[in-house]
């Protein structure tokens, strides 16, 4: 059993009781909700005449269903309009703060929690969305939950949870230019498997992680769940504190200094013990691209797609199904794979640094003929920042579409969907069959810069080989 880790410390601080079943009852410090998974929970509450126990610890926004061309109400899709209307009624009835479309603070829940300073070190954070692991980047225990559990949090501000083991992932060394946090996490999932993190919280550390800025750490933790780990976190440090200072919901003045003392105290001790430890060499990583139907099926951009016989026996059947769906062939290079669509955005890679990385590729270039490109900011704040920096002009000049904030083409719950067998270079997090809205659609996951490189060349391209300043 782990000892002295951030996970252990935060767990103990938030533990209410050991339940008769043997699970622990854990207080949830921050509860984030959105329009898709919470309306049914509010419905259960209403039916039984219950109220929200700690309304000041729940914050709401809307993201999954928002059309990115125009968020004017009512939405064309009555179901989308209905979900948002239920959320609006529910937050109003329960005194929950809501970052709606007219708030200037709306956005993907995993983008706004960090940027508003709501997500902080030493917290427990829950949200009805599996990518809640994102918020672990601050040094929090952050987890995705189901709708019945949302109801538990609304009514009691607690959850019945099983304590996880802690696996330390050391990523040491220097990432080469063009290699990002997205490539690190895809490489981790490739090695440990999409189910490899089951039963574990992932603690990411090592010199490569310490050097990452907050947005890169958010990308890293975001995809913990794709590796099967319910939680992923980075110990809070000066990078974390500097990011939080001055944010709207972060403590101010003397309270900030006291907060830093608490935040430091929850970081894993140098003497901490872990249930498992895995080491990665950052310097050998290259940009990663997925070729299959789960995020573990990936290769370095200079590699060839694996031969079935070269895979572990238990992976072969899944690989055959993936090749059939993707219409790709074992042994082929991933380089040169033609694409129809490029999507830059999502809770994984829809932050300002992601848009800057994409803009650096688009600048002075044109989107390849026949390719559709969507660039979608993760929030209204990211949108404003991008506008201030003149990024939309860069995207538009290249022939990409600059859209309004939302989950967009990550998940097929709004008008942004693949059509037929379209193949998409995507900065999102899931390449599951049907994920991007078409049952036959195909997704290649990669970093924003790699997706932009695919957009301007019409095929999978190693972004590092594009000339720095095109003529």
């Amino acid at each position: 059993m782990s000892h002295g880790t951030l996970y252990d410390k935060v767990w103990e601080r938030h533990k209410v009781a050991t339940l008769p079943t043997g699970q622990d009852q854990i207080f949830i410090g921050l509860h984030l909700i959105h329009e898709v998974t919470s309306p049914a929970a509010f419905g259960m509450l209403r039916e039984e005449g219950r109220h929200v126990a700690f309304p000041q610890r729940t914050f709401a926004t809307t993201d999954h269903i928002i059309p990115t061309t125009s968020a004017r109400r009512p939405f064309a899709d009555p179901q989308a309009e209905g979900l948002l209307a239920v959320l609006e009624e529910s937050v109003a009835a329960n005194g929950i703060e809501f970052f709606g479309l007219d708030s200037g603070s709306q956005g993907i829940v995993h983008v706004i929690g960090p940027e508003l300073g709501l997500s902080q070190p030493g917290m427990t954070i829950a949200c009805g969305d599996s990518h809640t692991s994102t918020h672990g980047a601050f040094g929090a225990i952050a987890m995705g939950i189901g709708t019945t559990q949302i109801r538990h949090v609304l009514e009691t501000q607690t959850l019945a949870l099983d304590r996880l083991k802690v696996r330390r992932l050391d990523v040491n060394g220097e990432l080469r230019p063009g290699v990002t946090a997205k490539d690190v996490i895809l490489a981790i999932i490739n090695r440990l498997g999409v189910g490899g993190g089951k039963g574990y919280a992932y603690e990411y550390g090592g010199s490569a992680v310490e050097r990452m800025d907050m947005e890169a750490r958010l990308t890293l933790c975001n995809m913990s769940i794709e590796g099967g780990a319910l939680n992923g976190y980075v110990n809070p440090d000066e990078v974390t504190f500097a990011y939080l200072r001055g944010r709207r919901y972060a403590p101010r003045g003397a309270a900030f200094e006291r907060a830093v003392a608490y935040w430091r105290s929850v970081a894993s001790d140098s003497t901490a013990t872990y249930d498992d430890r895995v080491r990665f060499d950052a310097a050998i990583l290259e940009p990663m691209v997925t070729w299959g139907i789960n995020p573990g099926q990936s290769v370095g951009v200079t590699q060839r797609l694996p031969e079935i016989a070269a895979l572990a026996e238990e992976e072969r059947r899944g690989a055959e199904a993936a090749y059939r769906h993707m219409k790709l062939r074992p042994g082929d290079p991933i380089l040169g794979t033609p694409i129809d669509v490029a999507f830059i955005g999502s809770c994984t890679n829809g932050r300002i640094t992601d848009l800057r990385a994409a803009a650096a590729v688009f600048k002075g270039r044109k989107v390849a003929a026949g390719v559709t490109v969507l660039v979608v900011p993760g929030s209204q704040a990211v949108n404003r920042q991008a506008e201030e920096e003149g990024l939309p002009e860069v995207f538009r000049a290249a022939g990409a579409e600059w859209r309004g904030p939302g989950c967009s083409m990550c998940l097929g719950m709004n008008p942004d969907k693949l059509v037929g067998e379209q193949i998409c270079a995507s900065s999102s997090n899931r390449n599951f069959i049907g994920r991007q809205g078409s049952p036959r659609g195909r997704t290649l996951l990669m970093s924003p810069a790699m997706a932009a490189a695919a957009a301007v060349t019409g095929k999978i391209t190693d972004v590092r080989t594009l000339e720095r300043e095109p003529s």
């Binding site: 938030h14 969305d129 995705g144 538990h152 899944g318």
Partner: protein, 204 residues
């Protein structure tokens, strides 16, 4: 809770084999299911796209009509936390899942809905796949008390070991799988823990 707690001890029924690893919750219930404001209609979405594109999908096969057990592979229920996935499974009439392993959020969602998601060895699952495919009429008896799955095969009784995390097993056996009542019982202690958290006091 207004509903009486229901103890879940034994489930008997026929089984549908779903031979695939890493079946994600987008496949179990595609995103369109999440546009519904309640779970009432979820049964219709169970493996909707897969059933449409593959007429030979086991869930399209009349010989598995009325089955109450799903036999699945490794890392079943990966991906999205959507509760629509276990809701669709239970509303389509399934009472339990037996698999090599389950994704964490999915397994938790199953348990709070009172659906045992139990694991068995690779060899046991292989045996179950074969049995369910060869003789769809086979009746299985899943017992959470004895942690066994028994069924008749090749003229004799087969008895396989199954497992599930002890707190989940206890919760199912005692009828406290929807933890709400247990959580509500500690309200005063919740307030105490909250009051002691530095961030709940603006770091005073």
């Amino acid at each position: 809770m207004t509903t009486e707690p229901q103890r879940i001890i034994e489930i008997m029924g026929r089984a549908v084999p779903l031979r695939e690893d890493n079946v994600d919750t987008d496949r179990i219930t595609p995103a369109v299911a999440l546009m519904e404001p309640t779970f009432d209609n979820m049964a219709a979405y169970l493996f909707r796209d897969a059933r449409k594109s593959d007429p030979r999908h086991p869930l399209n096969d009349p010989k598995y009509q009325g089955a109450t057990l799903l036999v699945v592979g490794k890392n079943f229920g990966s991906g999205s936390s959507r509760e629509s996935a276990p809701q669709a499974i239970t509303r389509a009439g399934f009472r339990a899942l037996i698999g090599e392993s389950f994704a964490e959020i999915f397994a938790g969602n199953c348990n709070v809905l009172g659906i045992p998601a139990v694991v068995a060895s690779h060899e046991a699952i292989a045996l179950l796949f074969a049995a369910a495919e060869r003789r769809p009429e086979t009746l299985y008896r899943l017992n959470l008390e004895t942690k066994t799955l028994t069924f008749e095969a090749d003229g004799g009784m087969q008895r396989l070991a199954i497992d599930l995390a002890e707190p989940r097993r206890v919760a199912l056996l005692s009828g406290s799988w929807n933890s709400l009542a247990m959580l509500q019982a500690n309200e005063a202690r919740v307030r105490q823990v909250a009051a002691a958290l530095p961030y709940m006091n603006e770091f005073r």
